[in-house]
Symmetry: C2
Subunit: 118 residues, 2 copies
């Protein structure tokens, strides 16, 4: 399972302090997730039949214009969270599982959880 491979490859950031470079790269990925429309787009793409979605599948559920959707998809792509390819009329999008697995692993709580005060 890809999520578990991701967990094996990357130490949780809570086990040791993150370096400056790693923090800069990761913050760009989290920034792409910091918008509700982008989060829903990512979720729609990943949960779509076959794991990929045409841009034509992605505008219906939203109250925003198609150019706005295209902008959000571009942000997700530039952050390395989705891949895309034009086939004929439409552009298709799919999630890049390694990127999500990396973020997921980084946020995992190590075996000894943070202490809450008494």
């Amino acid at each position: 399972m890809l999520g578990q491979d991701g967990a094996a490859c990357c130490a949780p950031m809570l086990r040791e302090p993150l370096g400056e470079e790693a923090a800069a790269e990761l913050s760009r990925m989290f920034k792409a997730l910091s918008d509700p429309v982008r989060l829903r787009l990512l979720s729609l793409i990943a949960s779509h039949e076959g794991g990929e979605a045409c841009v034509c599948d992605l505008t219906g559920p939203f109250d925003v214009s198609q150019p706005t959707i295209s902008h959000h998809l571009k942000v997700l792509r530039e952050a390395g969270l989705v891949g895309s390819e034009r086939r004929g009329t439409w552009v298709y999008y799919w999630v890049l599982p390694e990127a999500l697995a990396k973020l997921s692993a980084l946020l995992q709580i190590p075996a000894v959880p943070a202490k809450a005060p008494a």
Copy 2:
């Protein structure tokens, strides 16, 4: 282990489309992680001895002013990612493990990963 409890409680957002309300709440938490100084602060707090850190432990590693650090800590606290308490002269911070476990679980790749095109 808290991370696993978190994973059990929350379905990965990639299994089914995220609703509007959930996306709004989650995007606020990701926004708090979208700054490299805040990511490093969170990591410093969580990896500090005993799982909590005094604000006096947190200014040294950064090239930014103490008021800026305090602002970033406030953003992390308001996003529900850290707790804090004043004890005497200093404010102490600790990570809220349930919040991180929730984000980590949401980004987990379901058993059938997204398909990459041929």
